[in-house]
């Protein structure tokens, strides 16, 4: 294999594989893959050093559509496979595409442990609050009461909040994005790849067939400005159609205020610090729910911490030289000669 020399920057389209995409027309996954391809190009990553791993689910077909290395594994185990890939070859940029069922139901254990270990990889959580591929059963992120094929009388369990679960597991990078905002998606994917350690990006994804419009109140043109708070590190937490609403602290709770009302001015509004170790506010932001609060979007937490793969390779280095060869090691200790 020959590198013909000359690096020629890739564009988003270069990351498309030759396989026809088989998602339903209108599925939110289409925008997500476009954004990922754009982000890879923006990051200047090469095809061969990029690996997409996935579990099983509609969203987990992702690797087939990317002209990179790819592994469509088994249901829920993508995070464990990706961990092995990254440890084996830390030079690779490792991405995991996984549904809410794949990561939060059957794959829950690997999800929390890979976050805890802080393996350097980018996890894209396609949260459509439903099992798409198996045709519409409720998932661990489905809202209480939802009627689905497997809950004809409504569910009786509260969902996980992916951000809260991740932060409870020790997450250092958590972001949330709606599938409708390709610009923010791209931005967040770029940030996630730049972050060393496990970066979790929850995408609010629409499944047109089995859970259509589940995120509509957050993402629709009419309501999105009022129902989304797009966080930017170092900027005030302001939102609303008129950009006049903001968040302030009220004891240990958040409060929505209107700038210009009740003497509130812009400088009273909380400023987002994604990089602070203290996770209290990050948890509060991640757990904000409508209708009283906007949904926090963008990078909520982005904190530097040692990565598992790096520490592992450091530890290997620190042990180097203990023996000069296997032959030497085999001969060390209690050996004896037979003549």
């Amino acid at each position: 294999m020959e590198n013909l020399g000359g690096t020629c920057a890739l564009v988003a389209k270069d990351f498309e594989s030759d396989q026809a995409i088989k998602w339903c027309p209108g599925c939110g996954d289409y925008v997500i893959i476009k954004a990922v391809q754009k982000a890879l190009a923006d990051l200047g990553l090469s095809k061969e050093e990029t690996v997409f791993v996935a579990g099983i689910g509609c969203s987990s077909r992702f690797p087939y559509y990317m002209d990179t290395y790819g592994f469509h594994t088994i249901h829920g185990r993508g995070a464990a496979v990706a961990t092995g890939v990254k440890i084996a070859n830390p030079k690779l940029s490792v991405w995991l595409a996984s549904g809410d069922g794949d990561s939060m139901a059957i794959g829950g254990n690997h999800f929390i442990h890979s976050i805890r270990r802080n393996v350097d990889m980018n996890v894209i959580l396609f949260n459509n609050e439903i099992y798409g591929l198996t045709k519409g059963q409720y998932s661990p992120t489905s809202k209480r009461g939802i009627v689905t094929k497997s809950s004809p009388h409504g569910t009786i369990e509260d969902p996980f909040s992916p951000g809260e679960l991740a932060l409870g597991s020790g997450s250092n990078f958590f972001a949330r994005v709606p599938d409708s905002n390709i610009k923010l998606l791209t931005e967040v994917f770029v940030a996630s790849e730049k972050h060393r350690g496990l970066s979790l990006v929850e995408v609010l994804q629409n499944c047109v067939i089995f859970n259509d419009k589940v995120h509509e109140h957050i993402t629709s043109k009419e309501t999105r400005d009022d129902n989304q708070l797009i966080l930017q590190h170092g900027e005030a937490m302001i939102f609303g159609k008129e950009k006049n609403k903001g968040l302030v602290l009220d004891g240990l709770s958040l409060k929505v205020v209107t700038i210009g009302e009740n003497g509130v001015s812009e400088s009273d509004i909380l400023v987002h610090d994604a990089t602070t170790e203290n996770k209290t506010l990050h948890i509060m932001l991640a757990s904000m729910k409508g209708p009283d609060f906007p949904i926090a979007m963008g990078v909520i937490r982005n904190v530097a911490a040692p990565t598992y793969d790096n520490s592992l390779h450091e530890q290997i280095k620190s042990q180097a030289g203990k023996f000069s060869s296997l032959d030497e090691m085999f001969m060390s200790g209690n050996v004896f000669e037979v003549k």
Partner: protein, 607 residues
């Protein structure tokens, strides 16, 4: 008394240091050139109540100048540190057995706790044996009184006093062991001193006081010249993998989760980070194997180690490795089942699970090791086959050889065979599932390699391209290709051998870690002039090509295994026209030579 081989068993509470005493004795005898086989046997509680039979930990050693194929059926010498240790073993002692025990430990209380109705020293129940009832506790105390140690530390030296008696019995020189103490307790010279004194005093005790038993000597064994060391099966497995990884040249990855009795492979490998190996203690067995599959996809020689219940959890992922045709070594150190079963006991009952325990038609390679030392070779061979044939390989060992030890001749890396990695550099003519015409093996590409980007997965893939395909004929073809690829592994393994004459009446068939014991039984019958032959299988799936030919030479075939007949059943499926008899035990213990001999004699007579 000059003997060919002697079986010694150390038995005591978990805290009595029996495993250490046993190991020191083993090392000393190995240096002297004896053949050795050991078998530790410990309770599954961490520290079961002291002084009860349930809490007794054992370590059995067979040493000899020839014919040591197993740790032996029953001890010639029993070291019993307390009444419970005696109670746990007394039903298994041959008449002339020598018992070394601590007379001080036989208090009324402890005799009762051990479950004796009456004091065995008084009720005549020891009259068949030669007993050395040394006041071990009091003498150890006395001999160390001047050192100013606390009582706990003093009591910890009882095992060395006892070992001293044993050294006397076998005429074993003390120097090496004394030197060992200096090394081991470098930081605490008083403790070193205490151990040395205890050993010496024990030895003196034998020499001076006790004249009941005559001392025993065993000549050195005749061995291939070379450098040897004592090694357990688990350690040898780890080393074999290290050696193979160096031959593959792409780095070693272990993804695993602790489980008895497999954990020591992991413990051993994790010491060798200096060699660049990557060890991942996963959150569970599934993550263990899945991380290994990821590492294999990324180009490493990947390994996962476990025991039965962990194996059950890995079966879905093994199917993925079969489908994606990635190299992977899966080591199952078998223990007693089903379910949690008998975690510290030995059994061979996971064979069917290895062969068949997956959904769909998912063929792979199954091999097994025979002895503690040859775990090295079979781990190496598992890796060779995995890489050269791009397939998961299941290596079955078992508690009995995994924890047992024997001297292993140390091999030079340069003398080990090379491993052919299915590399590819010709992009034009490559495709993910393009195969070698002869072996049907696909290529192993490392992510990071330019222009070889490709995608694999668990859905059925199209022949050659690997693209997802639902075409019925393609599925049929792939099912056949995967099966044929595994069948063709038989083209590249040695033929099966057997020990015996062609005209023999009875062929004894074994597999895996019961090799030594079954061999021992057959050899004795051969010495007695019986028409009996023996073959033990390491390659289980596929079988060596001449297997049928061997079977057809014999009038009777009996398959011996520690399960209800799993290998026998498998053989029936492979060779429908051949008749297989069975000999099975499922009691969590290795075979006994005397039982095997009885069975074989019965078959020989019934012909």
């Amino acid at each position: 008394m000059n003997k060919e081989s002697v079986v010694i068993k150390f038995a005591g509470d978990s805290g009595d240091g029996m495993q250490l005493a046993g190991s020191l004795f083993t090392d000393a005898r190995a240096m002297w050139g004896n053949q050795i086989a050991t078998f530790p046997d410990y309770p599954s509680e961490i520290r079961a109540p002291a002084g009860t039979v349930a809490g007794i930990s054992g370590f059995q050693i067979n040493i000899g100048s020839k014919g040591v194929n197993s740790p032996g059926d029953a001890p010639d010498v029993l070291v019993a540190m307390n009444p419970a240790a005696l109670k746990a073993n007394i039903h298994n002692l041959p008449p002339a057995c020598t018992i070394i025990t601590d007379r001080d430990a036989f208090t009324k209380n402890s005799i009762e706790k051990a479950g004796f109705k009456t004091d065995p020293f008084e009720d005549n129940s020891l009259s068949d044996f030669k007993v050395i009832a040394a006041p071990i506790t009091s003498l150890t105390k006395k001999s160390l009184a001047h050192l100013g140690l606390d009582n706990k530390s003093i009591m910890r030296c009882k095992n060395m006093f006892t070992l001293g008696i044993l050294y006397w019995l076998f005429g074993e020189p003390l120097d090496q062991t004394l030197a060992f103490f200096d090394h081991k307790f470098k930081k605490d010279p008083t403790i070193a001193e205490a151990n040395k004194i205890a050993l010496q005093t024990g030895c003196n005790y034998g020499e001076n006081v006790d004249a009941v038993v005559s001392s025993m000597t065993i000549a050195p064994a005749k061995k291939t010249p070379g450098t040897y060391r004592n090694i357990t099966g688990n350690q040898a497995t780890a080393w074999g993998l290290l050696a193979a990884a160096e031959k593959v040249g792409r780095g070693l990855f272990l993804g695993t989760y602790p489980i008895t009795p497999a954990t020591d492979i992991f413990h051993e490998l994790t010491k060798h980070k200096w060699n660049g190996i990557k060890i991942f203690q996963a959150e569970d067995e599934i993550a263990g194997i899945c991380s290994a599959i990821g590492a294999s996809f990324a180009g490493n020689l990947a390994v996962t180690t476990t025991s039965g219940p962990g194996m059950a959890l890995k079966t879905e992922a093994i199917g993925l490795a079969v489908m994606t045709e990635l190299p992977l070594v899966i080591v199952n150190v078998q223990r007693g089942g089903p379910s949690t079963g008998l975690p510290t006991k030995t059994e061979q009952s996971d064979l069917q699970q290895a062969l068949y325990g997956r959904n769909g038609e998912s063929p792979l390679v199954v091999i097994s090791a025979s002895t503690p030392a040859d775990c090295f070779d079979w781990a190496f061979e598992a890796a060779r086959i995995a890489v050269e044939h791009m397939t998961p390989v299941i290596l079955l060992t078992e508690s009995y050889i995994a924890n047992g030890a024997e001297p292993m001749k140390i091999q030079k890396m340069a003398d080990l065979p090379k491993i052919d990695v299915p590399n590819e550099s010709d992009r034009e003519n490559w495709a993910p599932y393009k195969r070698d015409a002869e072996t049907l093996v696909r290529k192993w590409i490392e992510p990071g390699t330019k222009d070889f980007q490709h995608r694999i997965g668990g859905l059925e893939g199209e022949d050659v391209t690997g693209n997802v395909s639902y075409v019925p004929e393609n599925h049929g073809k792939m099912i056949k290709l995967r099966a044929d690829k595994i069948k063709r592994v038989a083209d590249r393994i040695p033929l099966q051998r057997y020990k015996g004459k062609n005209a023999d009446d009875l062929l004894v068939v074994g597999w895996g870690g019961q090799f030594g014991i079954v061999l021992g039984a057959v050899l004795r019958l051969q010495e007695e002039g019986k028409n009996i032959a023996f073959t033990s299988f390491n390659y289980i799936h596929p079988l060596p090509k001449n297997t049928e030919e061997i079977f057809s030479k014999f009038k009777q075939i009996v398959v011996c295994e520690l399960n209800n007949g799993q290998f026998a059943n498998y053989l029936r499926g492979q060779f429908p026209h051949i008749k297989f008899k069975q000999y099975n035990r499922v009691e969590g213990l290795p075979f006994k030579i005397k039982d095997l001999k009885a069975k074989f004699n019965e078959l020989l007579e019934s012909k």
